[in-house]
Each structure stands twice: as C-alpha cells, then as structure tokens.
Symmetry: C2
Subunit: 339 residues, 2 copies
C-alpha cells in the first residue's frame, strides 16, 4: 500500500498503534508535541525529535546554511515550548553529502550555535555520518517543565477561547517567493525577481524565532493555557490536533485571523490566497493555545496574542467561520499531500 | 575544504570546539557515548542520538527491514549501556522515500518494537517525513544511571586491564558476505553464493544484541569499570577513544583478541584478515572497558569477557602487540575514510 493513500496522520497512528509503557518513568509518549518523562518530585523532562531532509524541509539553492541551522533548532525546540516547557539540551545528528564542504558544515553549526546561545540551550551531542544523497539533519531536544505548569494538547474544554500568537502565513509566502526567485534564476520563468519590500516574508521563512517570550509572558501574567500546540503544520491541521486530543470541536473566525499584511500584497502578485497560507502553509512556529473564556481580557493584555475562535463540543467538528456566517470544515494537510 | 581531508574525528572536534554549558542541568556534553543531564539527587539522565542512512549504514537490497529496525535500536541504545546506564525511552525519526510502502514501514517498526520490548524501552515519539532520496532513520535514546554508577570514557588509570565482551569481527565479515551475495545476485561476479555455515556472521551483522546483560552481570559481581565505550567503530578506534579521553596509552595483545572463529574461515575465502575485521570493522556492539588490575580474576569469573591488554602512560601511545613482541600503532578509521 502506498503511504500517500493513508496520509501522514493515519500513517503515524498505524506505526504507533497499541504502544504501551514498560517504564514507570514514562509519563506520556506519542501524541503530543513532546514526550513526558518523570524527572523529580516537582518536574518533568520533555523530549522531542525532528528530522529535516534536503529537498523536503529545505532547498539548499536558496537557504543560507547558517539560517538553516538556526531554523532547525527553533523548529525542534518549539515542541518543548508548546508543552509550556523550557528547552535545555539538544543533540544534532547530521548526514553530510559529498557536496558539503567543511566551511559549509561550519555555517550550519554557526546557525545551530547562534540559536542555542539565544535560547540558552546546550548542544550536548549527536552523530555525524556521510550521506549518499542529500543533507540530513535530525535534532532531539530535552527540556523541563514544572509538573503543575505542563500543558498538553488534550486539556481544552468547551467554550475555551482559541488564541494565536504573532501573525500567520508569512513563512509560506516567503517560501513561494524563494521558489519564484529560483525559477527566475534558472531561467524557467521570465519575471523580474522582486525581493525588495518582501523582507518580512523572507525573514519568517528563513529565520523563524522561538516563542519562548510568549510562554514567559503568559506565566508572568498568571495565565496557564488549557491546551497548546506549536504552529508547524498550519492553523487548520494544528487546530484539528487540539480538537482531536481534547475530544472537542472548534470554530475559528476568518476575520479574526492575524494574517501578516505582506501576505495579501504578495498573494495578489502570485494569485495565492493568504488565508490558505495561514491555514495550510505551516512553519510559522507561533503558538496556538486555549484559555478559559473568563481570561479573555487577561490574554489580550499580554500583547501580541489574538483570540481567533472558541472550542465547541466534538460533534460540531472543526470549522472556519467566514464573515457571512457560513462554516467551512477544516482539513488537515499532512506531508504526503504536499508531494 | 573537503571533509575527507580532515577525517571524521577532527571534523567533529571542529564542529563542537569551544562549546560551553549554559544550563546548570548539563553535567557532561559532547565527548562520551552519551550526554549526562542532572535528574534528581541520586540519578543522571543520559541522552544519545544516532543517524542511519540508506546506502551508508545499511543496504536495503540485503537487509531485512525488521532486522534493520531492531539493529538501529540496539546501536542507539548501546551508547547508554556504555555509560553503565539503562535505556528507558527513545524517539524514532524516519524519512521515507517513495519506494517504501506502508507494509515496509510496518516491518521496520516491527523490528523497532521487538527491540524495545526485549530491552524494556518505551517508544515515546519522533518524526515522520517524506524523503526525496533514501530511507533515513534517526534515533535518540534517553536512559538513567545512578550517579555513583556512571562510567565515562575518561576514567582509565595506568595499568588498568582492558576488557572486551563477546567476540569481534563477525559483524564486518557478515557485511562482506552479504556484499558478495549481492554481487553474485547482480551477476557481477561468478561464484556460488554460499551463506550456509556462515549464519553466525549474518546474525552478527543483521541482528546484533544489546549487552545489557553484561552491565547487569558486572553490577551483580560488584565490578564497576573505570572507563567504558561500546564497540561501534572497531576495536582500534574505540581503544583510542578511551586513551584520548583518559589521557593514557594502551597495549592490546593480538593473541588475546577474541576474534570469532568463523571470521578465520570466511576471511580465508575472501582473503580478508580477521584481525583487520576486529580492529577496524566495527558494528560488533560489544563493550570495551577497563578495570583495576586487581580485579583480573573477578572479571574472568563473570564469564564472556576477555582481558586483551592494559592501559599505559600516554607517551606509549596505543598499540597492538603481536605474538613476536613487536608493536604496531593503532589507527582510527572514521567514516570519511570508508567512502
């Protein structure tokens, strides 16, 4: 059977079906942003792993290598943040093809180290091997969280507010911009390459930031989300994950989505819907979380957070409500549909 | 600069040069089998990551997929064992190329689960992505060890005995056997494929076991090694790692090496020196460790362990002593020299 006929999420379900814990120290395994492991009386250890393969997660023709290293760390550590944890250590395994020189590897590690320095994470190990094919990077991050502060995907209640940090869609539009630039440079399309004015889109695609500041601000304001996930796959897919794990439905409102303004400008140019970019583009690495409805004003006071909808009972499903009141069912895009 | 001009070990040194810890919980980072992280008053958490790429770490034409999954877990968890720890959780990240069907992925995970069941390790997460190139597998293992039981590579003293478990060289000879078989099947060489009688070599290559039993037996016998490493790269390279980290030299005696007997038989057939297989072949996943010289009889009493030499002062270097008393300097083979 072809994997694409299952889709990413059903494929993962199949591979991890029926797993049970043999170790008392395993608190929570597959099914959230990070695994949860017993640490001491007050704290859990968090563990999350990500893989980034050339030609899929990145294209070396337009990705500066130091940005690549930085971004891989952010993407991996973002899963720890999404559990309301703090990333502390990471390992980097790297498969290096012949075309990668020592200086290129230096650049990748320069970006890895810059991210580690910025977010106080220690690079403590990993693996290096040669690759017959492309550049392969795998990162595992270990973090910690106080037991009473951990946030799972599963804690959302009916009527909880759905909140999102920062803005959405720009990382995807930045990717489209870079892909257009590549086609221009290859002579495949005739167009004046235009990157000026779109620096924000490039920045969001090539150099995403870790929203460590958000979980710190929430904590300072005494707000503990009831559920949380990081926006790596896109708002639609990630909202559905919160719904699935919480056993709830969701309504998000189109006119409340904080779509980056540059997405409209560039979307016009390439005839791509900015809403689609926000829903299915992914890679924004913002946080999607829920809070009880009575925290509405508290959440807005934190700043940089939009309330975009609310949870519902499961039988409503997960939908996008348009300004005219009609509801569109959200669909999850896994990687197999992107091939 | 081409990476092969540096060699694997100097390349790793370069990438990890000057790293310093920013987190109080980081006890030990790069430079041993696993990173060491503070856990609670009595225990450390161990973390190790490995990457396995198609065409480098394995060849799908002759590797049964369930064996591949099993072996990847053993190879990754072996680093935890080498710190005298117990593996408890692991994550599996997998990059899947188009030629991999759902059933093939099932087989890989069948092997991963079998190893996890056998050694009581919980599969707690990971990542799946599509791969433009070959099958890529990255595994991170978390383990635990009591603080007073941890064994580093760096603790060997002058005159400590060098011990090795099991036998050596068979995994490499098994690989040579499979490669010959592949050439025969491809019609590239004319020869009768002969696998019969060499089941042991195949078993060692395709289905290595985790020497959890050894560290349990050592503990039961009240023996704590002064230094330890797992034999993944070959006896020469791994002995040199113990020397380097302990700031010592070593003499190992050729006639004391526990080379698997089938290695001589098959080595004759393919004109390959079994000693070279033991020294540089790697993938035996046995343990190499040192104990104080007064534990000589205690170590032999455990069973399945050979004393193959002793540590010296650093200025003697690391050498292999032949039966006629001459000394040959050990050389480390990294992956760049294997291309």
């Amino acid at each position: 059977m072809d994997i694409s006929s299952l889709g990413e999420f059903r494929f993962i379900d199949r591979l991890t079906d029926g797993l049970s814990s043999k170790r008392a120290s395993t608190v929570f395994g597959v099914g959230d942003d990070a695994a949860v492991i017993e640490r001491d009386a007050e704290n859990y250890t968090l563990l999350s792993s990500d893989m980034f393969l050339e030609g899929i997660a990145f294209d070396l023709t337009y990705t500066p290598l130091n940005h690549l290293g930085f971004k891989c760390v952010v993407a991996a550590a973002s899963d720890i943040i999404a559990m309301n944890g703090r990333p502390e250590q990471l390992t980097v395994s790297i498969g290096i093809s012949r075309k990668i020189t020592v200086e290129m590897a230096d650049s990748i590690y320069e970006g890895i180290r810059a991210a580690c320095d910025k977010y106080s994470i220690d690079l403590v190990g990993g693996d290096t091997c040669s690759s017959m094919t492309g550049l392969s990077i795998a990162i595992s991050v270990v973090g910690s969280v106080a037991k009473d502060k951990i946030v799972y995907r599963s804690g959302a209640a009916n009527s909880d507010l759905i909140c999102v940090t920062g803005d959405l869609g720009a990382a995807f539009m930045g990717l489209k911009l870079l892909e257009r630039e590549k086609r221009v440079l290859n002579g495949n399309i005739e167009a004046k390459p235009k990157l000026e004015g779109y620096e924000y889109l490039l920045e969001r695609q090539l150099h995403p930031l870790l929203r460590l500041d958000v979980i710190e601000a929430l904590e300072q304001n005494g707000i503990k989300p009831t559920s949380m996930i990081d926006l790596s796959d896109g708002l639609a897919s990630d909202t559905m994950q919160l719904c699935r794990r919480s056993g709830k439905g969701a309504k998000i409102f189109l006119d409340r989505l904080p779509i980056a303004s540059k997405c409209f400008e560039f979307g016009d140019e390439i005839k791509t819907d900015p809403v689609m970019a926000a829903l299915n583009g992914g890679e924004d690495y913002e946080l999607l979380f829920t809070v009880p409805v009575d925290r509405y004003e508290d959440v807005l006071r934190v700043g940089g957070i939009d309330v975009i909808g609310h949870m519902t009972s499961a039988d409503n499903g997960a939908s996008l409500v348009t300004p005219d009141g009609s509801e569109i069912e959200l669909k999850a895009q896994g990687w197999t549909s992107l091939e």
